[in-house]
């Protein structure tokens, strides 16, 4: 056996283990759907669980609307039956999918999508996708890195073409935060969805009140082609009940993604009801939605949370209050000491643990308009206060092109100033950028995103320390606090 090190791997397990798109350092075990089924036992004497299908659905399964749609139906139904679904429900709003990168690992899915497109099938509504996995223009990449990126995502054209055939919106709409107003894929409360992208499912279910399970990539698109999804888990009233009360008693506003990470690691894929943070949020508005996005994404990546409730803030919690808590719920208190404990446990995964940072990632999931403005003001003011002309290391602000256009429109001089001092705007994904073969040997990323920390070898810093490092290029002495 020979390993082609000119391909994606360095050939060194020490580095290669961090090159994946989405490794799971915790080795956490759960169904991944956002709804625990740990209570389910097999009874050999009981008949196999079957979903109840309508006559029309049975006809589709029997091939009366074509062989390909019959396969779509069969796959979705069998999947639903594994997870105890009772029926199919009609989907609304617009789909969103995580499947944005094209390499050998997704070749079988591209084949299936092409079979569907060749049969004239499309998603039930125009859909959004996660961002493209590369940005060859805005990230200060060398020709060697660009060559590796092209090799790494060798089937990128193929997946993009088939998405466009299946009804994807144009690439300006490709962002993990499809729900920001500028992008506009924000379902109404109660809408049934079959989304993937864990952070988008988590935000939409929690902050907007939609109903989607965390779907396996590929399966969600088959549901969207069918226009129906199996009804189980987070799509049901029962599945949206909270098994955990999270009491946040910190003395100050917490770093939201650390708080979310703590919750995720504790509850794994159960639904948490979070109390004590409404005082920092006020209501769902332009400011708080960024905080909820960052907290939620961390619950979804440090754990597998697909839905959370925030007392007095999120729609289910406003409607039902603590009636959302199941009988016998568990309680997890998060105080200052607990935040410190969780934060200090984040490992340093750099290949050279004492290296100097080389790039700063902010915006995973993608920044909102307000977050761009906030970071823009922080950086430019800090530089002015120091009499410093440029940042010490590149700061990459990740965002949708539509959010950037809004920011440019409203704050064109700030955008100009930021570009002049060395800040970049990009619409790609920090996880896939950090997945460039061999990049972890020479690049040392820092971030304020717990999702980026979890899925790459980037080191996590709180916002204050991150800003300081942008200015100095040196890791603060208290970097891990």
């Amino acid at each position: 056996m020979t390993i082609n090190t000119a391909s994606i791997l360095t050939g060194d397990e020490k580095f290669d283990k961090h090159l994946e798109i989405g490794p799971d350092p915790h080795g956490a075990m759960c169904t991944g759907t956002g709804h625990s089924r740990a209570h389910v036992k097999h009874d050999p004497a009981a008949p196999a669980h079957k979903m109840k299908l309508t006559k029309e659905e049975q006809d589709i399964m029997a091939g009366k609307k074509g062989d390909v749609l019959a396969k779509v139906m069969k796959t979705v139904v069998q999947y639903g039956e594994v997870f105890g679904a009772d029926k199919l429900v009609d989907l609304g709003g617009n789909p969103h999918t995580v499947l944005m990168f094209g390499n050998d690992s997704v070749a079988p899915i591209i084949d299936i999508f092409n079979q569907c497109a060749d049969a004239g099938l499309k998603a039930y509504a125009p859909y959004t996708l996660d961002p493209r996995p590369n940005d060859l223009y805005n990230l200060e990449t060398t020709p060697e890195m660009q060559y590796k990126i092209q090799q790494c995502y060798n089937l990128q054209d193929e997946i993009e073409k088939v998405h466009l055939r299946l009804g994807a919106k144009n690439m300006n709409y490709w962002s993990c935060t499809c729900y920001w107003p500028e992008v506009g894929n924000a379902p109404k409360q109660g809408t049934y969805l079959a989304w993937s992208e864990s952070s988008a499912v988590n935000y939409s279910n929690s902050v907007l009140g939609s109903r989607s399970n965390r779907n396996s990539g590929g399966l969600e698109m088959l549901c969207n082609i069918l226009g129906k999804a199996p009804n189980f888990g987070l799509m049901t009233d029962e599945g949206r009940k909270a098994k955990w009360l999270i009491e946040v008693t910190t003395t100050d506003e917490p770093q939201w993604s650390v708080l979310g990470g703590a919750i995720g690691m504790k509850v794994m894929e159960d639904v948490p009801f979070v109390a004590g943070i409404d005082r920092y949020l006020g209501q769902v508005d332009n400011l708080s939605c960024g905080k909820l996005k960052d907290m939620g994404a961390a619950t979804a990546t440090n754990g597998a949370v697909g839905l959370y409730h925030v007392e007095n803030i999120t729609p289910d919690a406003i409607d039902q209050g603590r009636n959302l808590l199941v009988k016998g719920y568990q309680t997890y208190v998060i105080d200052d000491a607990e935040i410190d404990r969780v934060r200090k446990a984040y490992p340093n995964l750099w290949s050279k643990t004492d290296a100097k940072p080389t790039r700063v990632f902010v915006g995973c999931p993608h920044n909102s308009f307000h977050q761009l403005y906030d970071w823009g003001m922080k950086v430019t003011h800090a530089l002015a206060n120091r009499g410093q002309a440029k940042v010490a290391i590149p700061l990459h602000l990740f965002c949708s092109p539509l959010v950037f256009d809004h920011f440019l429109d409203e704050h064109s001089e700030l955008v100009r100033d930021l570009k002049r001092v060395g800040v970049n705007f990009t619409n790609t994904c920090p996880l896939t950028f950090a997945g460039i073969p061999g990049i972890t040997e020479t690049e040392f990323f820092i971030t304020n995103s717990n999702k980026t920390r979890e899925y790459t070898n980037a080191r996590f810093l709180n916002d204050g320390a991150l800003l300081e490092t942008v200015l100095t290029g040196e890791m603060p002495a208290d970097a891990d606090l």
């Binding site: 082609n4 391909s7 080795g27 390499n103």
Partner: protein
């Protein structure tokens, strides 16, 4: 060794006999099959997950895999489809726990869309995983019964 029998849920039923290959920890699918998926290795499925002390370095082509469930990247389902396409997939995946969504999606799509069945049984229970060892004779039956020994 005395024969032990366990009953699981047959998600993709089938009959197979051979020797067991056991992963005590969750099988990180992408980490396991990285050389196959990304490094052009097409003749063997050598487990490349250094965190999996049970399987690391072993050729698991055609294995009857006994595992808690799969973990890791959301590409896990596609990876199973990819190794199936190359003829390097396990013959069976026997889950002690409830099957996870990633493996389920990939296994079902491989079966329905690629006509590549990987026999899949879940809910065999922790007792099953405690009882089985790599190299044990193992028989899998259509109804989800698994016999060790």
């Amino acid at each position: 060794m005395a024969k032990q029998t366990f009953h699981g849920r047959p998600i993709l039923p089938g009959k197979v006999e051979g020797s067991a290959t056991v992963s005590r920890i969750g099988l990180n699918t992408l980490s396991t099959y990285k050389p196959v998926m990304f490094a052009g290795v097409t003749d063997k499925a050598i487990c490349s997950d250094g965190d999996n002390k049970d399987l690391y370095g072993k050729d698991i082509t055609g294995a009857i895999l006994c595992l808690p469930q799969t973990i890791g990247s959301t590409t896990g389902g596609f990876v199973l489809m990819g190794v199936a396409k190359l003829g390097l997939a396990p013959r069976a995946m026997l889950f002690a726990n409830h099957a996870d969504s990633l493996a389920t999606g990939g296994l079902l799509m491989a079966d329905i869309w690629m006509d590549k069945r990987i026999i899949t049984i879940d809910l065999l229970g922790q007792d099953f995983l405690d009882a089985v060892n790599t190299g044990d004779p193992i028989s899998v039956h259509e109804d989800g019964t698994v016999e060790i020994g």
